[in-house]
Amino acid sequence: MKMCKMAVSKTQIDRLGDRLKGGSHSESDLRLLEDYRRSFGEAYKAVVRTIRQREGSPTGRLAKSTRSIVEKLRRESIRLSQMQDIAGCRVVVANIVEQEQFVAYLRTDFPGASVIDRRDNPSYGYRAVHIIAMISGKPVEIQVRTALQHLWADLSEKSSDVLDPTIKYGGGPDEWRDFLTKSSESVAAYEKVEKATSIVVAAYEAMVTAHEEFKTGTAELLEDDLPDHEVQKIRGELGEWTRKMERAEQEVQEIRGKMVRLWNVNADRLNKMISWLDKLKGQKQ
């Protein structure tokens, strides 16, 4: 199939957007939209290539679906030419520490990129970091999500598909909306602890290394013919080290326990929603 290669003006794109929004678009409009989407191809490829160099595993969305474009035009006061997520990709990382690291990489790789951090100010519960990189004047959206943020987003999206399309924007059945709100908050709380844990664990690991070095150094000293009071002093310091280590270890265990408790609360919620879904299905049959 041959595509039109003529340059399309911003005005033509926005008029196309108006027709899409109004539902009056023709087959030639779909072809024009396709041409517009393809114009993001090189920018998209450059972004994905850069992410792969950072050992990220992006899933690219070569271009936004027509349906998603139409919905966004109807939902927001935005022109088609202003849409920044025509092309984009998604990177899911294991946890919030990796997310921060990956976002820092992207800030370096795409200086001047806009960073939309929805973690502290979620959009209807949706939490993630979006980066809009501009490549030769074309925006490409990079969604960086932790595995938990992604899990939440997937559940929100899927339930919008099959239960109620307004769920993604705060609507839908009370039970489901309540579940999404609370689970988003609890993922946020969990990730806050996760971030704190990484600091405590790093400090603990540094302490373990320092302790080992101190033990090795003092073992050599103790082999020398030291006066009794020096030996006592070294043994005292070793004892103090051991106590510090035990306290730090306990702190790490406590914080991990807190993470387990937070996660268990979420698991209870998930189980409740499985029962709720089954009940809903039973009522429909």
């Binding site: 199939m1 087959e27 779909l30 072809r31 396709e34 393809r38 191809g41 050992e55 990220g56 595993s57 992006p58 899933t59 690219g60 969305r61 070569l62 271009a63 679906s65 027509t66 349906r67 998603s68 990709c89 998604r90 990177v91 899911v92 990382v93 294991a94 946890n95 520490v97 990796e98 932790t146 595995a147 938990l148 992604h150 899990l151 997937d154 559940l155 999206e157 899927k158 339930s159 598909d161 099959v162 399309p165 996760e194 844990t197 990484s198 664990v201 991990r256 993470m259 387990v260 937070l262 996660w263 268990n264 979420n266 698991a267 998930l270 189980n271 929603m273 499985i274 879904l277 089954d278």
Partner: protein, 99 residues
């Protein structure tokens, strides 16, 4: 790899699924357009999307919603807690792993 997905949102199921080599990007884009034109003629409102991922498994990780139903997704989320150990763990270097 490039994946072409035609998805019926209200039924939450895939209608068409095709994969293409990276070198077949143009063919994939043409196929998507053909599906969109066909849907327009039939008056159907499906989501037609082209996604690019290292493998089908990687695609499942980032776009599970196309492949699983809502109950399966909830069950899968609960299973991550099966050991009582919170996931993901700090220091887990693996990328793109489902919690």
């Amino acid at each position: 790899m490039i994946f072409l997905i035609e998805y019926n949102r209200s039924e939450g199921r895939i209608v068409t699924f095709r994969d293409f080599d990276d070198s077949q990007r143009r063919e994939a884009e043409d196929s998507r357009l053909e599906i969109e034109l066909d849907l327009k003629r039939k008056g159907l409102d499906h989501e037609v999307v082209l996604l690019e991922a290292a493998s089908k498994d990687a695609l499942h990780v980032t776009h599970e919603r196309y492949f699983a139903d809502l109950r399966q997704m909830l069950e899968s989320a609960v299973k991550t807690n099966g050991t009582g150990v919170p996931r993901p763990t700090i220091g887990d270097a693996s990328k793109c792993e489902r919690a």
